[in-house]
């Protein structure tokens, strides 16, 4: 009576959704292309022109380096924020006192715009990469901390008692119960924060980066180059989508123990 991993109804719904997504994007591109016939290229460059710029980013070493630099900054920032956020979440989960001090600070932080961190990091730090890292961590930290704390808090008391009855070591308890409990929360946190990080990174790159998508976007703005601006934006969007996809695959693998409803809601 092993349940099917992916019931047919769900699988069909998934492909249909993807087909519709492609259709919607094609429609948008078509509208843009039509607009390009009526407006000058600096307002609505043609789709082939944008595609050419987009392709150009990947064939030349310098712009490809820019794209990779930004990707690296996003992933590094998220990794740093994840590590620090996990630590804060664990401390908040285990100590009420710590929670009472840390929670308001994180909450306060949530209201600070990315641009404020840009200003602060420029004044405080010299190294450009460190400035960006700092901004990325500060802006995505509350998200990671709160989501991981929620996941930790959702741990089943029943399972905790059951596991404790076997007298695990602290490390074994973490490995066999806490970690599997928070895995879904970790994946969700990464997905949510990835989008945030992609938006923040271009702002962070204004701290004087001499490369990266944010830097390139600034160049295009100064040149009034709409095709270039869109091409660089698409690079960032594609990066986010690819990483999302990877996270979804990991999620599907990790959460295969969860029953799927045959009938979607």
């Amino acid at each position: 009576m092993a349940a099917e991993r992916v019931p047919p109804a769900r699988a069909a719904g998934h492909t249909r959704l993807r087909f519709e997504g492609v259709l919607a994007l094609a429609g948008l591109a078509l509208c843009w292309q039509i607009a390009s016939y009526f407006f000058p290229p600096f307002l609505f460059p043609s789709i082939p022109a944008i595609a050419e710029r987009f392709a150009g980013i990947f064939v030349h070493a310098a712009p490809l380096g820019d794209a990779l630099a930004t990707a690296g900054r996003i992933l590094l920032g998220l990794a740093g924020s994840f590590v620090l956020g996990s630590l804060l979440a664990l401390l908040m989960g285990r100590s009420d006192t710590f929670h009472r001090y840390a929670y308001p600070l994180l909450n306060f932080n949530q209201g600070i715009p990315a641009l404020s961190w840009v200003v602060v990091s420029i004044i405080w730090f010299r190294g450009i990469e460190f400035r960006i890292f700092f901004i990325m961590v500060m802006t995505t930290l509350p998200g990671f901390s709160f989501q991981l704390l929620d996941a930790y808090r959702a741990m089943s008391k029943d399972l905790l008692e059951m596991t404790l009855s076997f007298r695990p070591t602290r490390l074994d308890l973490l490995r066999t119960l806490v970690l599997p409990t928070v895995v879904p929360g970790i994946l969700t946190a990464w997905k949510v924060n990835l989008g945030n990080a992609a938006r923040v990174v271009v702002v962070a790159e204004l701290v004087g980066a001499t490369g990266g998508v944010g830097y390139e976007l600034l160049q295009q703005q100064q040149l009034f180059d709409m095709a270039g601006a869109i091409a660089w934006t698409i690079v960032l969007v594609v990066f986010v989508l690819v990483v999302q996809r990877v996270l979804t695959l990991i999620e599907r693998r990790q959460l295969r123990y969860r029953p799927l409803a045959e009938r979607g809601s």
Binding site: E161, T163, S165, F166, R167, T169
Partner: protein, 259 residues
């Protein structure tokens, strides 16, 4: 530890603070009893009389407010690590880890006891087979029925060869037929493995079936009646014990399993 009593309660109180009232709430009050090694004891009492609290005290999941709890001569709360591999528990709900297969759930205790991988897989496999779940090793809990899940949790408790086996109403969450079958198998297993067993129940039938001694509790947990019985206790004697229990409880528990 053949001579020393397996479980000793000495004037044990367990209080829970109540948010509104000035006084704490006594779930267990001045409870004293001893269970010999190898003995099978059923604790019977109405819902809310403190059975699970007593159970959690034995399991070392909570600490007594006053008095002394000793299991195999050790303090189950403070000497946390000493009890590794010694206590097996079957709870009312199966408490399986949803992310582990049936096999890995059974192997959990062995894994925490640092038993090598091949060995624990072999042991877990044998226990699943013993409980009629051959072929379901790789199934996740969601794919198993309630009865099958409880079988997995029983296998998990027995797999570590515990010296002490505790059951907190292990069959009350199941339908009558499933519960009955499983109870019979369970009784056989407990006798076979010769562990000390404490089983909590609110059913007189179950208590008489599982226990060599029946302790009847009343709120806050204290013993108001106890009786010994064995496989060769005559039917008339059983009936007398049953009516004594009913009398002691003043009709607060059901005689038969609910249909």
């Amino acid at each position: 530890m053949s001579e020393a009593p397996a479980i000793v309660f000495d004037a044990v109180d367990k209080r829970f603070p109540r948010s509104e009232a000035a006084e704490d709430f006594y779930a267990v009050r001045a409870l004293s009893f001893a269970v010999a090694a190898g003995e099978l004891v059923a604790i019977l009492g109405p819902t809310g009389c403190g059975k699970s609290t007593t159970f959690n005290l034995i399991a070392g999941l909570i600490r007594p407010s006053s008095g002394r709890v000793r299991v195999a001569g050790h303090d189950p709360y403070d000497e946390f690590d000493w009890f590794r591999g010694k206590i097996g528990i079957v709870f009312q709900n199966d408490r399986l880890m949803p992310w582990r297969s049936a096999l890995d759930n059974v192997a959990l205790g062995l894994e925490l006891n640092k038993v090598a991988r091949e060995e624990r897989v072999a042991i877990a496999r044998a226990w699943l087979e013993r409980l009629g779940l051959k072929g379901h090793e790789a199934d996740y809990p969601f794919a198993l029925s309630g009865g099958m899940r409880q079988r997995v949790s029983i296998a998990r408790a027995f797999a570590i060869k515990p010296a002490i086996l505790l059951g907190d109403e292990p069959f009350s969450g199941l339908d009558a037929v499933t519960g009955d079958t499983l109870r019979r198998e369970f009784v056989d297993l407990v006798r076979e493995t010769r562990c000390t067993g404490i089983f909590i129940t609110h059913s007189i039938d179950e208590a008489l079936q599982l226990g060599r001694r029946v302790l009847v509790f009343r709120r806050p947990a204290r013993i108001i009646y106890q009786a010994r019985l064995g496989p060769d206790t005559p039917a008339a004697e059983r009936e007398r014990i049953r009516s004594d229990i009913l009398h002691a409880l003043g009709g607060t528990v059901a005689t038969k399993e609910e249909p």
